[in-house]
Symmetry: D2
Subunit: 314 residues, 4 copies
Amino acid sequence: MGVMRIGHINLRVLDMDAALDHYENTMGLSRTDTDADGNVYLKCWDEWDKYSVILTEADTAGMNSIAFKVEKDADLDAFKKRITDYGVAVTDMPPGEMNACGRAIRFTLPSGHDMRLYAEKEFLGKAVGTLNPEPWPDETKGVKAHWLDHALLMCELNPEKGVNKVAENTKFMSEVLDFHLGEQVLVGPDGDIQAATWMFRTSTPHDIAFVGGPKMGLHHCAFFLDEWSDVLKAADIMAKRKVKIDVTPQRHGITRGSTIYFFDPSGNRNETFAGLGYLAQPDMPPITWTEENLWRGIFYHTGEEAGEFTSVYT
Amino acid sequence: MGVMRIGHINLRVLDMDAALDHYENTMGLSRTDTDADGNVYLKCWDEWDKYSVILTEADTAGMNSIAFKVEKDADLDAFKKRITDYGVAVTDMPPGEMNACGRAIRFTLPSGHDMRLYAEKEFLGKAVGTLNPEPWPDETKGVKAHWLDHALLMCELNPEKGVNKVAENTKFMSEVLDFHLGEQVLVGPDGDIQAATWMFRTSTPHDIAFVGGPKMGLHHCAFFLDEWSDVLKAADIMAKRKVKIDVTPQRHGITRGSTIYFFDPSGNRNETFAGLGYLAQPDMPPITWTEENLWRGIFYHTGEEAGEFTSVYT
Amino acid sequence: MGVMRIGHINLRVLDMDAALDHYENTMGLSRTDTDADGNVYLKCWDEWDKYSVILTEADTAGMNSIAFKVEKDADLDAFKKRITDYGVAVTDMPPGEMNACGRAIRFTLPSGHDMRLYAEKEFLGKAVGTLNPEPWPDETKGVKAHWLDHALLMCELNPEKGVNKVAENTKFMSEVLDFHLGEQVLVGPDGDIQAATWMFRTSTPHDIAFVGGPKMGLHHCAFFLDEWSDVLKAADIMAKRKVKIDVTPQRHGITRGSTIYFFDPSGNRNETFAGLGYLAQPDMPPITWTEENLWRGIFYHTGEEAGEFTSVYT
Amino acid sequence: MGVMRIGHINLRVLDMDAALDHYENTMGLSRTDTDADGNVYLKCWDEWDKYSVILTEADTAGMNSIAFKVEKDADLDAFKKRITDYGVAVTDMPPGEMNACGRAIRFTLPSGHDMRLYAEKEFLGKAVGTLNPEPWPDETKGVKAHWLDHALLMCELNPEKGVNKVAENTKFMSEVLDFHLGEQVLVGPDGDIQAATWMFRTSTPHDIAFVGGPKMGLHHCAFFLDEWSDVLKAADIMAKRKVKIDVTPQRHGITRGSTIYFFDPSGNRNETFAGLGYLAQPDMPPITWTEENLWRGIFYHTGEEAGEFTSVYT
């Protein structure tokens, strides 16, 4: 029992039509609902719940909230108590307040991000069904994203002021939500400042990550692809569709995944992350990256910053 | 808390030198120990515990036992009670009885296979370490297997006599060990005979599988590779080393994995299984394959039996 | 100057609608013409000439003729003289007798196959054009075959009767048409019977191949794909479209190419051949495969016959 | 008859030991000779002639000369006449003046680069031999480069002064050496300045390329890899061996090839170029890239300059 995986992310977009063209035709998600406020809900072909992305039109890009699905309804009570005991306020959300979901709980991470937990969401099923399924559907568009894989949240890190929301989030996720620490970057003169962490609940190298920066925000949300050959195909499609690519095909040292970064029309960074990387397990000792190897961890091939990794996020 | 993953498999081999040449030079495992009885212990480069394969010289090939690692020591007590309550006898194994492991419990699956649970095994670490690790080690040999991924056990299935050890194992693994059913084959005139099942505890499509046949045994044990390009490389290496290949590069419909099957020198079937396939989750509805699509599920491309899938196992 | 490449192949098909569904929707060719006799002409997206496949409805499957394109019109005169001098009759074909082509010459190979040479064919252009082209077109269907790559012709081989049309064809192609021998299979008690040959004019390992058997015919015609990842995709598409696969993803020892074999609805064997293999050059010494390694050459991984390689052709 | 392919390149290196470590251990070439002047000769595993790279220790990096192999000895006389008739001086090189080669001719391209033609070089054979060969050798190191594929030469381009050595080279290679123009970049207010060209004699998209810049030099020499999965492996190896990468895994729009650029220890740019791209043929209409799509042609995914493409060469 406990948290299973990332459930959905609510992104702010500047222009809904442009955003839908991107998430539908470039990423390959399908629109499954639109609510009374104009929020649009989309799912990937390999997901079974009704949506993993909520698009909300707004004046600024960014992430409104992120939600994780827990295994059982009773988990919500247990987590409410643990979060409250930790000193973080929890708000109950009645069934339906999150569209097509059962009751949920809502709280704010130490970094300021809005997080929710829920146990039920309307079931729609994978595009390939559950009876003698094909390995992939014919009709999917663009990069044919399998599922929303993870999100990387930017958290305030200001060692001089003693502010480290990366470490605070990591402690909270570990102690309260039973996330496991897969990898971390330690920086500073004594090598003891946790500047970035990658945490998991599934057996994949990360379900959420936190990176320190000047202000909180969303660095990127990532969608899963099978393998390296799909990364080339994805980059080709970005070029064909004139999507702004931030980082061309790379291997991450951290997680070992292969990837491209690019921006949706509102400037929210997306990633297509391919491959399992490694089997993450609770008893796997966390991997540590030191300051001088930080960029080798992020972009393994050059060991140098690429694109606008640190400077641009929403 | 609960079962984390497959921990190790004890294989009987006819000739230890030939077996070691295979598992070391073809598969890429490293020898980590030899005990007083001459059993040899090996680990894959991407595993951190001391071993995942135990080779025991014997007059017949096959599997002596299979072990799963649980998250916490207390899980052993909980599972002992649940297994006993289910009506299955449990034997305590003191620390060290399983080489380099803490205390364990041992029981027999309905199918007759010897299974063990343990919470601790001596830690050796991955070949790439945990400090600024490379994505893969230079020195690994052969197909560079990442880890022992799963095993497929043959279970007696004789509908006329009312014997279905696949269904019995599946019920036991589900109800007692909290495994999730990912996929199943249903056959028979009413389509209600569970002839094969794939079950998981990690987020991968299977950690263990059961297939019905005339007698119990080991169908294969599988080692993980990253992706399809590694499957070609693996098949090339089998050809170079004159390893008997059972099934050339294929995609499974079930699990979506890409694969080759081949035999170790004693005739134990091995698999190199590549790719995540899909993210397996407790709330994912199980996939069902019907009798007429059975072989499409096993070997997706032809939809026909390949190699000696049903006729040869140890 | 001289022969440039395979230009087109004329296949007999039993049912034109079924054949078109196959070559258009599975293989990804486009229909470019239909003549007064009902022959249908198709081209691949990466070809610039009007067609590379001609489909002719008939009562039996097989190949009517195969044509190669020469570099210059004057080559036709030179080859006519050389062929005639070799003792093979040549027929002139006026412009237009081969649809959309200039004048051509026609002759019969020692094996009995009808071969043509031509220098001009109507230009249609690649699907991606010649101005700032995309690397691949969006609209192509199925396996998105790049081009007709080569054909393998079955030739009568009966050593006891002293008949070896493989050797006769090879000598003719080499001495008269300046093809280069890339690889050969030598069999028989003295290892001097040329049982199969692979010949090239481009820098790819083969533009035509000859294999000995009980009777003349077409073994397969092959279409080019980029690489191994496309072979998996192609095999998946065959499975989805229920195309009869003869041989699942393999590596050839000969040519090093990766491949699948399958049948069009009339029973003509097709191949999707991926990768360059190696750079074939006039000064590259021919590769020889001995009888005991013959199948290692054909299907490298198992070194054994797969599918119906020797028994079925049209 | 005529030019077959690139034969070898003579590179100046600042430190022979460092250079050898790079070309042997990173690129996977084998040392085959050292001459009395200390020049070191190396070949790739998939080449049969004695060497394709000559390393000469010097105070500056760069290319001393480039040589192409012609099909027959008589070609040398024919080309000597054509080159001389074109107004370019030709120097005869007696057998052995180019190590292990027969007689050769030498001349200077309009751009100032030293080019040689030869018909004979000592034969050593591929690492896999010609009798029942394996598809790849076991002992090869590093990225396991197949062969020297092409070179890109920088040529002076100064439209204001009416200098365009790209166009002059292209005309010369086409009219005198029978190279075919595969692709070109046209720039300038009238779009008529040939700023870069890619030319071929084999059936691959380029055997040599010319790009305009402020001064003549060597932009890069490229070694062939099979496919995209090898590009990732190559980039991983560069990272492991701390080779300075210029451009991480990319697709070229021009040639469609996938690639990385990096520098040898002396600063000579290398490329690993993977895949056939397309079948280049004399009758294929040349592809034109316009100025606004120039970078889409070079680096397809971003359509922007990457690394130090225009600013750094030797």
